[in-house]
Assembly symmetry: none
Homo-oligomer: 215 residues x 4
DNA sequence: TATGAATGAGTATTCATTCAT
DNA sequence: GATGAATGAATACTCATTCAT
């Protein structure tokens, strides 16, 4: 599947073009940041990819900082959405947690995954930095909540929810580090493996134990 | 315990001073990088902490890049050492893996932890970058090897060693992200919790199952 | 009295609208220049005041430079008119000079006053810059001429006309610097005080002297 | 008399060189600002005059804004000094005022004269802008004070001190506008003429009146 | 050893201006 | 008449690095 890189080449419905173009700018930024890193990416780089000149970018985005922020958000929003959906779910804590993990992997393997985890929120000013930290914290809290719910309803064994959340989020957040160069698995496949590992643990299962049934 | 920040203030044995000072430079760099990020740290910042002028740093270090490299290495070497020790160990795969995890957590909560995981190897030139990637890869391979050993000797349940290694390393590597602001646990305590989570998994243990015994 | 800021809001006689709008553009520019300075005023600022977009301005004006030029001229023309009227006058040199001063103060306290004196003619290209310098020089020459006429007809004491013209013009041109923040006096009141000071001088008048009669 | 433009060419006493160089930077800035205007002067321009590269300027000065501020101050300080000296004087108000005028003209015909009056304090941030406005206001107040003193001791005729101060300062501040292209008179000569004009006024002196004696 | 001084290379940002619609 | 979109040119500022002393 070839995704057209630049909507500047394919004109069309004028009214919506603007929105599309802005998205293209953000996406191009996300890719460039992932490939070269935020600080090693100049606006000229991004503009070049889009076959546009640098000031044009400013027509769609206020600053480089805003680009980074939007990349952050594009990814985090998806996960946050999954979290809030999980909240209103009725199934067991474990099952709902597993759903969140699936969405998490989906989001983090996207173009924006890198930004979500590798970009320093130090690169954002206090304003935007705070908003990102808030989003991240919200996700963390929701994961802990699901863990506690699972412990409560018996679908998850006794554990320290805070540490478990850190371990789980860490494993997930680390995906962009190796996924870029080793994208042999689909997001879903990765999710399956991770769920298995985290649910069953590494210890050998006693014969006939069935609680490790994945979902 | 007050650690002297700068050896320039306490003269002594001339011969070894140099080595000490170089260490101080690296360590000061590590702290600054952790606090402000690599790109937001100027050599002036580091020099100021050491009560030294910028060109003096070059007497001990060839470049900013080298500082970063040394920070990387300071942390990775410790883990690599633990890995090679594990290799020559005789106990079960699981037990040896657990030992590696302990050393890992120890190393990653040090001043150099941040650099090991947050610094982009993109900030290193091809030369040094390659060496870092090699070190990291070696550690990854060793973890997979231990997992396979554990599966082989029955101390670890059936799992995908590659994904399990990714999950484990991810959880560990993520520690610096939250540890800085939430250093309420000792490295050993963190290691214990993580080991428990990864060994037993999150699924509720059937009554009387004992295989989750941590070490 | 509320002056409508933008004629774009009140349509009407098509033919003359254009002229009105052009004037509105110039006037809005003059105000913005006075408030923020020429270089700190962007065309967007001016457009925003008029509730119009930037390119629209170009429909009425060729360039930012032309705006400045027109502001210059709007003020200078008024003074030049007063000068040429003075030339054809028949009263004494002093009386005619005083009339010029009145018109001068009137003009310089207008919206365009700032531009007349604070705007750098360096901001105009050689073409327009030369025209402005010519206008200014003409005014200067006329003032000197009136001074010489006054000396000739005995209504003005012996003095260096060039320096006197510089002193007088300087005092007048400086008005915008303090008038903006201290507009407690009317233009006429300011003119009266200035005339008094320049005619009588600061030295104490001998008793009974009457030559200081202001107009 | 040729003033060496750049101390970079003539090394010497190391300790004081720095101070000299900083002064040279400020002075070069002042000249460039006078010739091309603040906004039309790039740091490259200034650096080129000094046969130095742009970053070198930053070794001596924090920003372009600071350059402007120092130019402002270099001139204003001289006048302020004359003012404070006048304050402690014992001669008549008129005589002390005349001394201030002499210093004023001296200062305003210097390289820094242009900055004192043509530079917009809008080009300075709120911090430095406020300090400049304060300096200017102090000078204005002192002139008014001298006028009132003169009126009190009978050396100056009855007049509105505020307006008289504005007129006098305006005439003086305007000097840079014409002095650059018409430097045929020395500062002292200009001062003499201005004093004569302001003291005696333009009205014809009655025969035998002697109060116009200049100092 | 250590430093004061200088620099080259790089980059985000602004803005007047143009043009197709 | 008016505008959305795009651009070229210009510029202040930062910083790792070097070198004479």
């Amino acid at each position: 599947m070839v995704r057209p890189v630049s909507p500047w080449q394919v004109p069309g419905n004028r009214a919506r073009q603007r929105e599309l173009k802005r998205d293209a700018v953000i996406r191009a930024a996300a890719r460039a940041f992932r490939e070269r890193g935020y600080h090693h990416t100049s606006l000229d780089d991004i503009a070049a990819v889009l076959h546009v000149t640098k000031p044009t970018l400013y027509y769609y985005v206020a600053s480089k900082e805003e680009m980074l922020f939007e990349c952050f958000r594009a990814g985090l929003d998806r996960i946050a959405a999954a979290c809030s959906q999980a909240r209103s779910g009725t199934s067991s804590g474990r099952e709902r947690l597993i759903e969140v993990v699936r969405s998490y992997v989906e989001a983090i393997t996207s173009d924006f995954g890198w930004c979500m985890v590798r970009a320093e929120d130090q690169d954002l000013g206090p304003e935007l930095g705070a908003r990102i930290r808030q989003l991240k914290s919200g996700i963390d809290q929701e994961i802990r909540r699901l863990l506690r719910a699972g412990i409560g309803d018996g679908s998850i064994g006794d554990c320290d929810p805070k540490m478990a959340a850190f371990a789980l989020a860490g494993a997930l957040n680390w995906i962009p580090h190796w996924y870029r160069d080793d994208a042999t698995l689909s997001a879903d496949a990765i999710a399956d493996r991770f769920i298995e590992i985290f649910v069953q643990g590494l210890a050998p299962r006693p014969e006939g134990a069935s609680s490790g049934n994945v979902s």
